[in-house]
C-alpha cells in the first residue's frame, strides 16, 4: 500500500478496523478463554464461560458487536516520520468513528461529562482519544481499542511513597476485590508503574494491548496467581478464573514518587490493528 492513500480509503479502512474490533476478538484472547473454560471446576463459573464462548461465536457468525457497550474509541497510532498522508489524519479518524457508529451500528456512548448530553456519533471534545507515537519509517500503524465503562470504572491509580513498592501487589488485589463481578471477569490487568500521574495510566492502558500469551515475568505471575487465589471468578460468582493475564509496563519516575495505575479490562479484550504505507 502506498503512503499516498486517499482520505476516502483511509476512512473506509479505519471504519472497517472498528467493525473488526467490535465483532471479533483476537485469537490469543479467545484461546485464553477456552483454556479457562476447560480448567474451571466451579459449575456456575463454567456456565458463564460457556455463555461467553457462545456469545463470541454468535457475534462473529452474525457480524454483530459482541457487547452492547461498544465502548469509547481509544486509538494508538504509530506514525512513521516518512509517512506522508497529505490530509488531516485526526479529522479522518474522527470521520471513521462517525461512519462506523452509523454503519455497524455502534451505541452512541460519548457524552459531555457535566451536562451528560450525548453527541450521538461517538465523537466529542477529546474523543476519540488518539495517542500518537512517532517512529522511523514510511508506515502508519493504527490500533483501535474500544473500551467499555464497566471495566474502566473499576480501574484505579495511587501515588505511593517511593519506599512502598512492596505494597503494589496488595493494591492490585484490593482493586480487584473492590471491583468484584462489576468489570466482567475474567479480567486482563494492565499495570503502569512509574512515569508520572498520567503516564502511569497511559502505560497501564498500553499494557492491555499485550497479547495474552506473552510470557509473564515473575512479578506479573505472582500478581496473577494471587488475584486468582481470591476466588472471585467469572462474573464475580466464584471460581478460579478471575484474571487471564497481568502485564506490567514501567517508566522511570521522580525519585520522590511511585505512581501505580491498574487498568482493568473485561473478558472482551477488544483491539485490532492495521498498517498503512510501504515497508521500506
Amino acid at each position: 500500500m502506498s503512503s499516498k492513500i486517499s482520505r476516502e480509503n483511509f476512512i473506509r479502512s479505519v471504519a472497517d478496523l472498528l467493525r473488526k474490533a467490535e465483532i471479533e476478538l483476537p485469537d490469543d484472547v479467545v484461546d485464553a478463554l477456552r483454556k479457562a473454560e476447560a480448567r474451571e471446576e466451579n459449575e456456575v463459573a463454567k456456565s458463564q464461560l460457556r455463555a461467553i464462548l457462545k456469545n463470541i461465536e454468535i457475534a462473529k457468525n452474525h457480524g454483530v458487536p459482541m457487547c452492547q457497550d461498544t465502548g469509547i474509541m481509544i486509538f494508538f497510532a504509530e506514525l512513521g516520520t516518512e509517512f506522508q498522508p497529505g490530509f488531516d489524519l485526526e479529522a479522518a479518524i474522527r470521520n471513521a468513528v462517525t461512519l462506523a457508529t452509523m454503519e455497524i451500528p455502534l451505541r452512541p456512548n460519548a457524552v459531555d461529562p457535566l451536562t451528560r448530553k450525548n453527541s450521538g456519533d461517538n465523537t466529542g471534545a477529546g474523543i476519540p482519544d488518539i495517542h500518537w507515537k512517532f517512529v522511523p519509517g514510511k508506515q502508519l500503524k493504527v490500533t483501535v481499542a474500544p473500551k467499555g465503562a464497566g471495566s474502566e470504572n473499576m480501574s484505579a491509580l495511587r501515588m505511593f511513597n517511593p519506599t512502598e513498592a512492596g505494597s503494589i501487589k496488595n493494591f492490585v488485589l484490593e482493586t480487584v476485590i473492590n471491583a468484584g463481578g462489576m468489570p466482567c471477569p475474567p479480567l486482563t490487568l494492565g499495570l503502569g508503574i512509574g512515569g508520572s500521574f498520567d503516564k502511569a495510566a497511559r502505560l497501564a492502558k498500553e499494557a492491555l494491548l499485550e497479547p495474552l500469551d506473552t510470557p509473564m515475568n515473575e512479578f506479573e505471575k505472582g500478581i496473577l496467581d494471587a488475584v486468582n487465589s481470591l476466588g472471585i471468578g467469572c462474573m464475580g460468582l466464584g471460581g478460579s478464573t478471575t484474571a487471564l493475564a497481568v502485564h506490567v509496563k514501567t517508566a522511570h519516575c521522580h525519585t520522590a514518587s511511585l505512581p501505580v495505575a491498574v487498568n482493568i479490562q473485561c473478558w472482551a479484550n477488544r483491539h485490532a490493528s492495521i498498517v498503512f504505507g510501504e515497508e521500506k
Binding site: P65, P108, G150, E174, G181, M182, A268
Partner: protein, 194 residues
C-alpha cells in the same frame, strides 16, 4: 436446580429460587438503567403516574443497542450493564412496586434486605450481548426515548432468556457478598504471609 419461568412472575415463582440456581425467563421484560431509575423516583416524588406498570415486572439493567427500521425497532445487541450503579435507587422503588426480578451483572451491594420475600436478583453473563439479542424476540414498545437510546425504557419480549444465575435470592442469600467476604479473607491471609 434449573427453572424456566414465564412472566408476569408471581411471588411463588421466586420464593422457590435459591442463590446459585439457574433460571430462564420467557415473556416480557423492561430495561432500565441509571437515568430511568432516577426518573421513576422523580415522578413518584411528584405523585405522577408512570407510563408502564412495574407490578410483577422483570427489570433488566441494560442499555441496548437498537436499530430503527421503517416501522419498528430491532435489537442489535443487549447485554447487561453494571447493576452496582442502581444499588442506591433500587430499594425505594421496591418499596412501592412489586418488582419480582432484577436482571443485571456484578451484583448489588446492600440490596438483599430490600429484596427479601418479594424479589430476586438474577445475574446474566456480562458482555454477552449477541447471545442476549438472539433471545429477545420482539421490541414491544419504548418509553422515555428522550433519555437517549441506552437510558430509555425498552419493553422486550424474550424467550428462554438466560442462563441467569440467582445471585441474590428472596431469603437474603447473596452470592456476590459471600464471594467478596471470602476474597477479603484470602487477602488477609496473604498479608500475614508477607
Amino acid at each position: 436446580m434449573e427453572y424456566h419461568l414465564q412472566t408476569p412472575l408471581k411471588r411463588e415463582d421466586i420464593e422457590k429460587l435459591n442463590a446459585g440456581d439457574i433460571v430462564y425467563i420467557s415473556g416480557e421484560i423492561l430495561t432500565a438503567r441509571d437515568e430511568a431509575h432516577a426518573r421513576i423516583l422523580e415522578m413518584e416524588e411528584k405523585g405522577e403516574k408512570l407510563p408502564f406498570s412495574l407490578e410483577g415486572a422483570v427489570i433488566y439493567h441494560c442499555g441496548p443497542l437498537m436499530q430503527q427500521t421503517e416501522s419498528d425497532w430491532e435489537v442489535v445487541s443487549a447485554g447487561p450493564t453494571t447493576s452496582g450503579r442502581m444499588s442506591k435507587m433500587t430499594p425505594p422503588i421496591l418499596k412501592t412496586h412489586e418488582i419480582r426480578a432484577i436482571i443485571g451483572k456484578g451484583g448489588m451491594k446492600g440490596v438483599a434486605d430490600a429484596l427479601k420475600n418479594r424479589c430476586v436478583y438474577l445475574a446474566y453473563t456480562g458482555g454477552c450481548a449477541a447471545l442476549a439479542a438472539e433471545l429477545i424476540k420482539e421490541v414491544k414498545t419504548v418509553h422515555w426515548l428522550d433519555l437517549g437510546m441506552p437510558e430509555a425504557v425498552w419493553v422486550l419480549r424474550v424467550k428462554e432468556f438466560g442462563p441467569l444465575i440467582v445471585g441474590i435470592d428472596s431469603k437474603g442469600k447473596d452470592i456476590f457478598t459471600e464471594v467478596r467476604e471470602k476474597a477479603e479473607k484470602v487477602l488477609e491471609k496473604l498479608d500475614k504471609q508477607n
